[in-house]
Amino acid sequence: MGNMGNEEVIGGYGAAAPFLADAVYMAELRQRMLKFASLQLADPGLAEDAVQEALAGALRNAKAFAGRSAFRTWVFAILRNKIADQIRFKRKQSQMIAMPLGHFPDEDEPRYFDVKGHWVPENRPSDWGNPEVELLGKDFWRVFEACLDHLPPDQGRVFMMREFVEMETPEICAEIGITTTNMHVLMHRARLRLRNCLEGHWFAPEESLS
């Protein structure tokens, strides 16, 4: 990876060549990938490995990059697969921190509903308009990221596997040893929490992120 700036070396990389040749771009992309991997692999070493392998895979298969999708999207798709591999591998190695089976206390959850199951006024969804995801600016993504970071670990992990790594439900349940029912409960809580956080800090900001 050290001589990536060398035009001759990257000559055979097709549509990916301009990206691979841009050392600044690649350094930023690597940082970005590392951050993404770290969100899902608690061990920094494993996150580093996944990024390294994804970049190596991208280099090896650079000719397969047709330039139709964004280069970044393509590289991240490779990284997602690497992360899914790591998650599976970690489980086989029994290095995974065991999740309490079948019991997810909800005392720590914010109160979204009253005893009758109606929204409590302070957490009732307000109208966000119809924001186009494509048009959201970088300030939004910063808030979004901060809100993700604020998810409790069990919710965050399941949410990340499902929505970022795009693993299917049976696979997630098998990998971390929870029932489908538990997974759906965690997803519900994660969505309620993330929604609340976005509403409080982006769509109707009333206080700053702590």
Binding site: R32, G117, H118, P125, N130, V133, K138, E145, E163, F164
Partner: protein
């Protein structure tokens, strides 16, 4: 159906196929509940955002 169950079904719908009964009960509730209808739109938008998040770089001026 109450809002708490409606949001649970709405969330489940993104991860599993609802039964016909569940779908009907959910739609019926949403028909009369603005807050839960908002919730459904918002979690849909959140899914789009999470998937887009991977493909964008907040620090990259080219994409903004």
């Amino acid at each position: 159906m109450m809002c708490e169950n409606a949001t649970k079904l709405a969330s489940d719908e993104l991860d599993r196929r609802l039964s016909i009964g569940e779908t009907l009960r959910l739609r019926l509730h949403l028909f009369g509940c603005d807050a839960c209808s908002g919730f459904v739109r918002q979690i849909g938008m959140m899914r789009k955002a999470t998937r887009r998040y991977v493909a964008t770089d907040a620090s990259d001026p080219d994409e903004r």
